[in-house]
Symmetry: C2
Subunit: 388 residues, 2 copies
Amino acid sequence: MTRVPIAGVGMTAFGRQSERTSRDLFAEAASEAYDDAGLAPEDVDEVFYGNFMGEIAERQGHSGPLAAEAAGVTAPATRVESACASSGVAVRHGVNRIRSGEADVVLVGGAERMTNLSTAEGTAGLATAADALWEIKAGVTFPGAYSLMANRYFHEYGGTREDLAHIAIKNHDNALENDLAQFQRSIDIDDVLTAPTVCSPFGLYDCSPMSDGGSAALLVSEAVAEDRGLGPDVAIVGSGQSSDRMALQDRASMARTPAAERAAETAYGDAGIGPDDVDIAEVHDCFTAAEVFAIEALGFYEAGEGIAAARRGETTIDGELPINLSGGLKAKGHPVGATGCGQISELTKLLRGDHVNSPAVADAEMGLTHNAGGTVASCVVNVLEVMG
Amino acid sequence: MTRVPIAGVGMTAFGRQSERTSRDLFAEAASEAYDDAGLAPEDVDEVFYGNFMGEIAERQGHSGPLAAEAAGVTAPATRVESACASSGVAVRHGVNRIRSGEADVVLVGGAERMTNLSTAEGTAGLATAADALWEIKAGVTFPGAYSLMANRYFHEYGGTREDLAHIAIKNHDNALENDLAQFQRSIDIDDVLTAPTVCSPFGLYDCSPMSDGGSAALLVSEAVAEDRGLGPDVAIVGSGQSSDRMALQDRASMARTPAAERAAETAYGDAGIGPDDVDIAEVHDCFTAAEVFAIEALGFYEAGEGIAAARRGETTIDGELPINLSGGLKAKGHPVGATGCGQISELTKLLRGDHVNSPAVADAEMGLTHNAGGTVASCVVNVLEVMG
């Protein structure tokens, strides 16, 4: 395992800023990352850029070179698309490129513009992350797909809509003072349970929003970090990616996410740690139930125990294992292509002490990100550690 | 430079097969590659899959896991999208992954379904490879953009439509007996010059067609090739990728393609060779003029000499430097996401002696592929060599 220092991070505010293009959002995030790192565009050897539905929202593909241009770079630039895991995948390939020894500075990140679309257009766009032939033609949307998974989970392990509400409330609380978050307001259990139903068991507050936003990180080799005196505080020490059958119907269980389990296993092995070593985590809560699937797949809780942990408050800021201190996708927002690297940005700030929620977790040394695509047909897990 | 053996290749016929999905096309190509290599899906450590406009043609994104599933693999799978260079980029990242020592067998390739779209839909889809704000809104399509480049080339260096016709005629001749090619028929200069004008100076025969198709290759480490007795005949010995400003208006010259020059420089340096060492090449002739831009950017000819070389027949099957012996994009077809790895498949067969055009170039030991995205805002160059 070679650790990969994070020299700098940047993230736009997530939320409704529908007049801005993806390239503009990424440029802002990259610019912040350069300043944070003390690096310049000329230092960048390669770019990996995550974007999901640019073809639909902006009639814009081929966005690797375009994002690089927006960030002032002409180095090799690759757009990777893995639905909601797009920039998580970008981060992993950046890690691999540094580890290969062939690149010293890699710019990774992503952006998405979504709120310029109508809800119907956005929902149809998001649906391209599922199997067009076997799921979408049957009328399944993403709230529908995750509802199937949640209902199956309830059937196999128990749990209620009230249990899930704790996750929404927690993540809104975590975002309360995060200026980058889309929703900075508390909600209570009545808000969650009386909200309009989207797809049973999910009400409005069980669902992450449509958002616009960009994120970026500068990954560097240890040699460059030292030579240039960059003094990074946090490094990626483990990274894993995995895939699964695309359609829910082809999986052994709708209540489990084995791609996340395999990605975690790889990342833990890579980092030489286990789930018990993780102090804080940012996980892919596109729906409240998705947070339950995540914390079980990551090995933090046994099968069926994730929802009990949420009910008992174990994953709150004061709990044993704070989850989604940024506010998560639920409250921070979910500009799809920006989400995975946005987790890296927020977790880096949390670990190095310059996040609004850092004081509550001042002892945290090891953090993890879990970024999923579709109904977890793809997943990337990264392990971050404070550098000694 | 670590050489990366190509254990097996596969390619569907390119052409109109509009009832088939991209996943189906890729599955066929991957299946052929497994058989060719003597490997099985279980052997694959990672997948890089190129697809350009699945969102538009099939309402299908997130195609990395889907392509992997079609190929029987649950390893980490990443869809890369770099317009017409999508699977060239997939090949390069596969090469990098093998060279890193972290993967022993990587499945790379791509697929595209296009002919199910109307010409207007297809043209609009292809346009997402250009700058949506600064080119497409002004009404530029790809034939239009390349026409601007060709006219500028004529202005700077001379040349005529008749000169370009030689390229179309040559590539049709090369495809004559290639069963995988979309067009297996000769054309003459009258055909070219009397064809309907698409965008001056291009007539119909100056333009590559809309096509459906899939391509795949299995890249392996030398250790695995030896341990498993795979006996690959050809290896990738150099690989380079580069980017440029997206919009033509932002470039220093519309008659040059510096991203291709930089990608070639990297690939040559990587391989420890120069342009004079290349015996045959597959280049990105999406339009006849694009072949001229390519052979100049690759250093085969000085600026302004590429068109003269075409006129003099130096790049025919009997010439000094045969270009596009597969028939090129022009006659073999151009299913966008499949094109880059399709070049690898055809060149591998040419070099190892099992292509219909191999006998004419029996002494060829070193080959090159040049795969461009958009108006060469991205480019990948790979150097292939017969293994000693």
